[in-house]
C-alpha cells in the first residue's frame, strides 16, 4: 500500500453556535485505503466528512487534499465526491442521466459520456437500468446508482455518509462486501461514516473511532477490536467485560492491579500507582476451573450457544463477568450456583484509560 497521503486534517475545529462539533481533530488518510469514521450520532464524524467534501468549512485548522490546502473552497472545486445517506439521486432524471451529470459538468464529449456511463452501470451490476427513474429502483439499486454517479467523475477521495443506513440487514451485509470489492477494484480512497461497529470491522483498512468531536483511537480493524485504548472504544466495540481496577504497583513493563475480586497482573507500561483504570477481557479468554487457583466467582446463569457455553459470573463484590468456554469432551461443565475459580492471563488483559462510560 502506498504511503502517500490523500487527505490531511490538521487541528480542525468546527463549531455550530455554542456546540463544538469537531474539536481539534488531526488525521492523515493514505491513498487507496478504506477508512471508516466510527462513532455514535453527534460525535462529529459526519461534520468531519462534510468538511472534507467542502459542504462545511473549518473554523480553525486546515484540510489538505493531496497536499493542497482546501481553505474555503466549495464542493465543485474539489476532487472529492460524496455518496449521501438518502442517496440524493436527481428524481427528474433517468439513472443514466444521473450518472452522466458529473461528466456533463466537466464538458466531456458525448460519446465518451455514454461509454463511461455504461461502464459504471456494469461495475455496479445494473447494466439494463440506465433508462429507469431512480424511484423505480429498490433501495439497494438506488444505492448503487449513487455510488456509480460519484465514482464516474474519478474523485481523489470518495466520501460515504452512512450510505447503507436505509437498507435491511441482509442487503446491508451484501452491500458491505460489494462496496469493499468495488473499492479494491477502483483503488480510490474511501472515507466511510457509520455508527455500526460491525460494518466498520467488515470493510475498513483503518478505523477512526470518534466521540464528542474528538478522535478516541485510530487503527486497523484488528487493533481497534483487540486492543482498544479507552473505555469508550472498548464499550463501543461491544466489549462485554470491563472491570474497574486500581493500580497497586507498577514497573516499566508491567503492573499489578486490584479489582473487585482480587489482584491481576497486566503487561502494560506507563501506569502509575493509585491510578484508576479499566480492564477489558474477551469472554473466550477467561478460564474457569473448579480447583480454586484464581479469583473466586459464582455461576449465575449458563447459556448454550452451540460452539460455546456462555457463563454469567458474579465475583465476590458483585462485579459481573461473561466467560465463554468451548465445551469439548474434556471441558468441565458448571451449573448455576456453582463456585468456580477464574483465571486471566496478563497478555489477554487490555488496560483502558478514560472515565467510566455512563450507564455501562
Amino acid at each position: 500500500m502506498s504511503s502517500e497521503i490523500d487527505v490531511s486534517i490538521r487541528d480542525v475545529v468546527k463549531r455550530f453556535g455554542v456546540m463544538t462539533a469537531v474539536d481539534h481533530v488531526s488525521l492523515d488518510i493514505h491513498r487507496g485505503q478504506f477508512v471508516t469514521l466510527l462513532g455514535p450520532s453527534g460525535c462529529g464524524k459526519t461534520t468531519t466528512l462534510r468538511m472534507i467534501g467542502g459542504f462545511e468549512h473549518p473554523d480553525e485548522g486546515e484540510i489538505a487534499i493531496r497536499g493542497e490546502p482546501m481553505g474555503n473552497r466549495p464542493p465543485h472545486h474539489r476532487d472529492t465526491s460524496m455518496v449521501f445517506q438518502n442517496y440524493a439521486l436527481f428524481p427528474h432524471m433517468s439513472v443514466a442521466d444521473n450518472i452522466a451529470f458529473g461528466l456533463k459538468e466537466r464538458k466531456k464529449p458525448k460519446a465518451e459520456i455514454r461509454e463511461r456511463v455504461q461502464e459504471m452501470l456494469r461495475l455496479v451490476e445494473l447494466p439494463e437500468h440506465g433508462g429507469r427513474r431512480p424511484k423505480q429502483l429498490s433501495g439497494g439499486q438506488q444505492q448503487r446508482v449513487a455510488l456509480a454517479r460519484s465514482l464516474v467523475v474519478e474523485p481523489t477521495v470518495l466520501l460515504l455518509d452512512e450510505p447503507l443506513g436505509a437498507l435491511d440487514l441482509k442487503l446491508r451485509r451484501q452491500m458491505q462486501l460489494e462496496l469493499k470489492r468495488i473499492q479494491e477494484r477502483v483503488g480510490i480512497t474511501f472515507i466511510y461514516v457509520t455508527h455500526d461497529q460491525e460494518e466498520a470491522l467488515t470493510m475498513s483498512d483503518r478505523i477512526v473511532v470518534m466521540s464528542a468531536g474528538k478522535i478516541e483511537q485510530e487503527g486497523s480493524a484488528e487493533e481497534i477490536f483487540e486492543r482498544p485504548r479507552t473505555r469508550f472504544v472498548a464499550d463501543f466495540m461491544g466489549a462485554q467485560n470491563i472491570l474497574d481496577a486500581d493500580v497497586v504497583d507498577a514497573d516499566a513493563q508491567s503492573a499489578r492491579l486490584r479489582f473487585g475480586g482480587g489482584t491481576l497482573a497486566v503487561s502494560e507500561a506507563g501506569l502509575l500507582p493509585g491510578e484508576t483504570v479499566g480492564v477489558m477481557i474477551r469472554p473466550e479468554k477467561i478460564q474457569l476451573s473448579a480447583d480454586g487457583a484464581g479469583v473466586p466467582a459464582t455461576v449465575h446463569e449458563r447459556v448454550y450457544k452451540g460452539a460455546t457455553m456462555s457463563y454469567q459470573l458474579a465475583l465476590a463484590d458483585g462485579t459481573r463477568l461473561v466467560a465463554d468456554s468451548m465445551h469439548g469432551d474434556h471441558a468441565e461443565r458448571f451449573a448455576p450456583g456453582d463456585m468456580v475459580s477464574v483465571t486471566m492471563q496478563p497478555r489477554d488483559l487490555v488496560v483502558l484509560r478514560g472515565v467510566p462510560v455512563q450507564g455501562a
Binding site: A88, H92, F101, G102, R132
Partner: protein
C-alpha cells in the same frame, strides 16, 4: 334481507349528505348554467328557451369591441402569468434559502395585497401612478395585476420549496456544478410544477380581475371584464351570454388540460 340492505348501502345520514352535496353544487353552478343556456336562447333573455340559435355567437364574431377586449385581456393575462411567476420564483428562492432578521415580516408583506380591499388598493395605485407621472393604461393594468396575483403565485411556489431536499443541490455541487448550473439543472426542474401552477393561477386571476382594473385602466384600454360590465349597465346584450360561455368553456378546457398533463406525467414516471 340483510344483504340487500347492505347492498343499497347508505344510511339515512349518508343519503341526506349526498342530497346536501348535490344542492351545494346546484347552488354554485346554476347561475353559470343559466348563462350557458341563455347564450343559445333565440329570445336573448334569461327565460325558458323556445328553440336554439347560434345567432349570438355570430354576433360575437362581428363584435369588434369585445374581440379587441378579449385580445387585450389575454395579452395582459399571459404577461402577468410570466412576470408574476418569475417574481414569485425569485421571492420564494430568497425566502426559503436565507435567514435574516425581519424575514417573517418581509414574507408577510408579500401576502398583504391579498388582504387589502381592491377598492383601497385601486385608489392607492391611482394616486401613486399620478404622483409618479405614469399615464394610466396598459402598463398600469399590468403592474396592478402583478401586484394582486403575486401573493398567490408566491404561496404556490413556496410549497415546492418547502418540500425541497437540499441534499440534491449539494449533490449537484459535489459533482462539479456551479451555482448557476445547479439552479437550472436541479432546483428549477424540481420546483417547476409550483411555478407552472403559479403562472396558471396568475393568468386566471388577471383574466377576470375587475375592481383594480376599473381604477387603473384609464380611458383608453378596455379589458374583457370592463367591456362586459359597461354592456350590462347600458344595454343587456345577449352577446354577453355568448362571450361568457366561451370563457367558461375555455377555463374548463384549461383545467382539464392541466389535469391530463399531470396524469401523463405520472404515467410516464411509472412506465419509463
Amino acid at each position: 334481507m340483510a344483504s340487500s340492505a347492505h347492498r343499497s348501502g347508505l344510511s339515512l345520514g349518508d343519503r341526506l349528505l349526498r342530497i346536501y352535496a348535490g344542492l351545494v353544487y346546484l347552488f354554485l353552478f346554476a347561475p353559470i348554467i343559466v348563462v350557458v343556456i341563455s347564450s343559445f336562447n333565440p329570445s336573448g333573455r334569461w327565460n325558458v328557451p323556445h328553440g336554439f340559435t347560434m345567432r349570438w355567437y355570430a354576433d360575437l364574431m362581428k363584435d369588434d369591441e369585445i374581440l379587441h377586449a378579449l385580445r387585450t385581456s389575454l395579452t395582459i393575462a399571459v404577461l402577468v402569468a410570466i412576470i408574476s411567476s418569475l417574481l414569485g420564483l425569485l421571492a420564494a428562492y430568497g425566502l426559503s434559502r436565507t435567514r435574516f432578521p425581519g424575514r417573517g415580516l418581509v414574507q408577510a408583506l408579500f401576502y398583504l395585497p391579498m388582504l387589502v380591499p381592491g377598492v383601497v388598493c385601486g385608489i392607492a395605485l391611482v394616486i401613486w401612478f399620478n404622483k409618479l407621472g405614469i399615464a394610466t393604461g396598459f402598463l398600469t393594468i399590468l403592474i396592478a395585476h402583478v401586484l394582486v396575483t403575486l401573493p398567490f403565485t408566491l404561496t404556490l411556489i413556496m410549497t415546492s420549496f418547502y418540500g425541497f431536499d437540499r441534499r440534491l443541490e449539494e449533490a449537484a455541487h459535489d459533482l462539479g456544478a456551479n451555482d448557476w448550473n445547479t439552479f437550472w439543472k436541479v432546483t428549477f426542474p424540481l420546483v417547476l410544477p409550483g411555478v407552472i401552477g403559479g403562472a396558471l393561477i396568475a393568468f386566471t386571476l388577471s383574466f377576470d380581475e375587475f375592481v383594480l382594473t376599473f381604477f387603473v385602466a384609464g380611458g383608453g384600454v378596455k379589458t374583457l371584464p370592463l367591456v362586459i360590465y359597461s354592456r350590462i349597465r347600458y344595454l343587456l346584450s345577449p352577446v354577453i351570454n355568448a362571450i361568457a360561455t366561451v370563457v367558461i368553456v375555455f377555463s374548463i378546457a384549461l383545467l382539464l388540460l392541466s389535469q391530463v398533463a399531470q396524469v401523463i406525467r405520472a404515467r410516464k414516471a411509472e412506465a419509463a
